[in-house]
């Protein structure tokens, strides 16, 4: 990924990609810009903003903006509002695009063409790109691009989003374009205003008639269903087999997260060990060596080691998304979600929350019902985000024996699955309770979700998305986690113990004092002072708990190697009841500060984040209390 701040090249022409959801727009964007992308948010809203650069053959550079998918230019969701604002030049900090590329799915001209007609009315220079032409041809659909071009009065190019040279025609066209005078591509009047309800209804009607006419003139007025998708759906959406396949699939994913990650995790661990050994040889024993080894290396190493697992989970989520299965999973789960007062639409944000609650909370913007959206935001943090994986992974490796159960299922993987399940059941219970408090008139929640045709996912697209996730994670490691780790090292190292003190030095430090005070609150649920200390910086980011424990334990023992051996340390030091209680705590515990910040921004106030914090804290405490005392009662103390 190039780190160049594409924003700064504001004198380069800006080209916006506009299209319906599922028209292959993002694949085309990847083809045009390759890895030269920058992902951020639009200013003021948490809608993902993707911009990339394309160097044309003519030597000119242009910026390409991948707008959020929209069905119409009458905004009904936050996503569509951003798209409209950018096109009207009203988005804060955005330049109005110089050129709009309307991306059409050749498979669904009727709906896609209505968007082109709406875009023409904006008065921006427009060109049209027919995407997915390969699938259309395979299904016997012949589109006369020249005729379509004269019907629309705009240039019509073709592209195949899944072929590496599929965007060459567009590149060629952009290269030959005279960027100083694009008026030839401007068809509408330039009095750009947002459509109001009345004009939108009128336009919907007239556009529909015009599209019918165009399709009739092109002799495309028939519908060819995607038979492969229909055959797959007969199995995957079968009322009995469909849900079974879905559960089996999710189970396999979680097994894979644990078993595939072992080799890369061992590699990272050896690298950290090697670095530690090098530092010991070079630096004399002193506080700098302690900061480097016990603070930074132990802390960051303990977090980076979980990168492989996070990437494997994201890989599967992206795979399901690209293939078109994800909305089908939502379809299958709509009934279950309906029973707790939500719709299947809440499924995709909730699934993203398994990777991280923040993109999950951001994804709720596609839920048009305000009440559903609020409930989804409230329960999203209970989905086990990948930041909790390090904590789970550490505790499971330390306390759950590596053992094969029946049919090759391993016990550690099973426990992980149960933890995820506990979060899901907790979330459903909360949603069900909230449903009791909602009056009937707000319960009208819509599903209206598109089930796109199945596609073979393209590795290139997966790789780009995966790299973006890794980058975000590593940026967090380098930023907030590094800061917290150093902060905690300072808190745990100063002040020094008095002469003649008998305990380990950390007990006399600031962190030790804080931990011992907090231990009063947490001792009823079985947490010792080391855990209590680690929970404090854990508020910044959950995975910091692991690095904090590593730091706390590295410092409370005298040996330098302690950082490498957190697992045996805690498995000898803690009871199983404490470990289980900590696991239960993390199923429900209040989320990191960045999640709270995202919730505040999305809901526009402190009310929802405060409700969320307090109910999650209460729930976590109760769950841990029950787990701890039940475990002791069963003799696991």
């Amino acid at each position: 990924m190039s780190e160049s701040k594409v924003h700064f090249f504001s004198n380069e022409p800006l080209v916006a990609l506009l299209g319906n959801p599922n028209c292959g727009k993002t694949a085309l964007f990847n083809l045009l810009t390759g890895s030269r992308q920058k992902v951020a948010n639009y200013s003021g809203v948490t809608v993902e903003r993707k911009e990339g650069r394309l160097s044309l053959e003519s030597g000119k550079n242009i910026r390409i903006l991948d707008l959020p998918g929209a069905y119409s230019l009458y905004p009904r969701s936050l996503d569509e509002r951003v798209t409209c604002n950018v096109l009207l030049g009203r988005a804060e900090g955005e330049k109005r695009p110089d050129l709009v590329i309307c991306v059409l799915s050749a498979m669904n001209l009727r709906r896609n063409l209505r968007l082109v007609l709406a875009a023409k009315r904006l008065g921006l220079p427009c060109i049209v790109v027919l995407n997915m032409l390969d699938i259309a041809k395979r299904q016997g659909l012949h589109i006369d691009t020249a005729a379509l071009s004269s019907e629309l009065g705009l240039p019509v190019l073709t592209s195949i989003g899944i072929q590496s040279n599929g965007a060459d025609e567009i590149k060629q066209f952009l290269s030959n374009l005279d960027w100083r005078n694009l008026n030839g591509l401007r068809t509408g009047t330039s009095d750009a205003t947002l459509e109001n309800v009345a004009s939108h209804i009128a336009h919907t009607e007239s556009d529909n008639i015009q599209v019918q006419k165009i399709l009739q003139n092109l002799n495309l007025d028939q519908i060819i269903p995607d038979q492969l998708s229909d055959r797959l759906d007969a199995v995957l959406l079968h009322p009995v087999f469909g849900p079974i396949i879905l559960v089996a699939l999710l189970f396999c994913i979680f097994q894979a997260v644990f078993s595939w990650a072992t080799v890369p995790m061992d590699l990272i661990k050896s690298a950290v060990d090697f670095l530690g050994a090098q530092i010991v040889e070079v630096l004399p024993n002193g506080w700098i060596r302690s900061l480097l080894i016990n603070g930074i290396l132990a802390g960051l190493g303990g977090v980076v080691i979980f990168l492989p697992q996070i990437l494997i989970l994201f890989f599967f989520i992206l795979l399901l998304e690209e293939s078109g299965y994800l909305p089908r999973a939502a379809y299958l789960l709509d009934r279950v979600m309906g029973s707790v007062g939500l719709s299947g639409r809440s499924f995709i944000p909730l699934l993203s929350s398994f990777a991280c609650a923040i993109p999950g909370i951001m994804a709720t913007r596609s839920i048009s019902n305000a009440r559903d959206r609020m409930v989804t935001i409230l329960i999203a943090p209970m989905m086990t985000c990948s930041a909790r994986l390090p904590v789970y992974a550490l505790l499971i490796s330390a306390f759950i024996p590596e053992q094969k159960l029946w049919a090759g299922i391993d016990l550690q993987g099973l426990v992980l699955f149960l933890l995820y399940l506990a979060g899901i059941l907790g979330a459903m219970a909360v949603a069900w309770i909230l449903k009791r408090f909602t009056s009937e008139q707000f319960r009208m929640n819509a599903l209206m979700m598109e089930l796109p045709s199945y596609h073979l996912p393209r590795l290139g697209n997966l790789a780009i998305s995966l790299w973006q996730r890794a980058e975000i994670f590593l940026r967090r490691v380098g930023g907030i986690i590094l800061l917290m780790t150093i902060g905690l090292w300072v808190l745990s190292s100063f002040p020094f113990p008095l002469e003649g003190a008998t305990g380990s030095p950390i007990q006399y430090s600031f962190a030790g004092m804080m931990g011992q005070a907090l231990a009063h609150v947490f001792s009823p649920i079985g947490f010792n002072w080391q855990i209590s200390i680690a929970l404090v910086p854990g508020m910044a980011a959950r995975e910091v708990v692991v690095s904090s424990l590593a730091t706390v334990y590295a410092l409370s023992s005298s040996s330098v190697d302690a950082a490498d051996a957190l697992i045996p340390l805690i498995s000898n030091g803690w009871s199983l009841a404490t470990a289980l209680s900590l696991l239960a705590w993390f199923v429900f515990a209040p989320q990191c500060l960045s999640t709270i910040a995202a919730v505040k921004r999305e809901t526009g106030g402190w009310k929802i984040p405060i409700i969320m914090l307090s109910y999650l804290f209460g729930l976590a405490y109760i769950a841990s209390f029950i787990t701890y005392h039940l475990a002791i009662y069963l003799g696991l103390g």
Partner: protein, 81 residues
């Protein structure tokens, strides 16, 4: 006839979309995704025991609709040629 009453895999034509009083915006939403007068529509699949969600083909695309949403869409049979 409403879309929640039709037989599976038979093509109909949309004649009107009627939103309930409490949620007028749903009409526009359904129109935006393609439920416009004259469009071909077929219910491909229903959930267990004939309840929702329904898998509905409208034009060339496929959408999942709940029973309540399907009920808002009035359809006419296509006369046999």
């Amino acid at each position: 006839m409403h879309l929640d009453q039709v037989d599976l895999e038979i093509l109909y034509r949309v004649s009107a979309v009627n939103a309930p009083k409490g949620a007028p915006q749903i009409k526009g939403q359904l129109e935006d995704i393609g439920f416009l007068p004259g469009e071909q529509v077929a219910v491909l699949r229903k959930g267990l025991l004939g309840k929702g969600p329904y898998m509905v083909r409208v034009g060339a695309s496929t959408f999942a609709l709940r029973q309540a949403e399907a009920r808002m869409i009035t359809v006419d049979a296509i006369p046999h040629v």
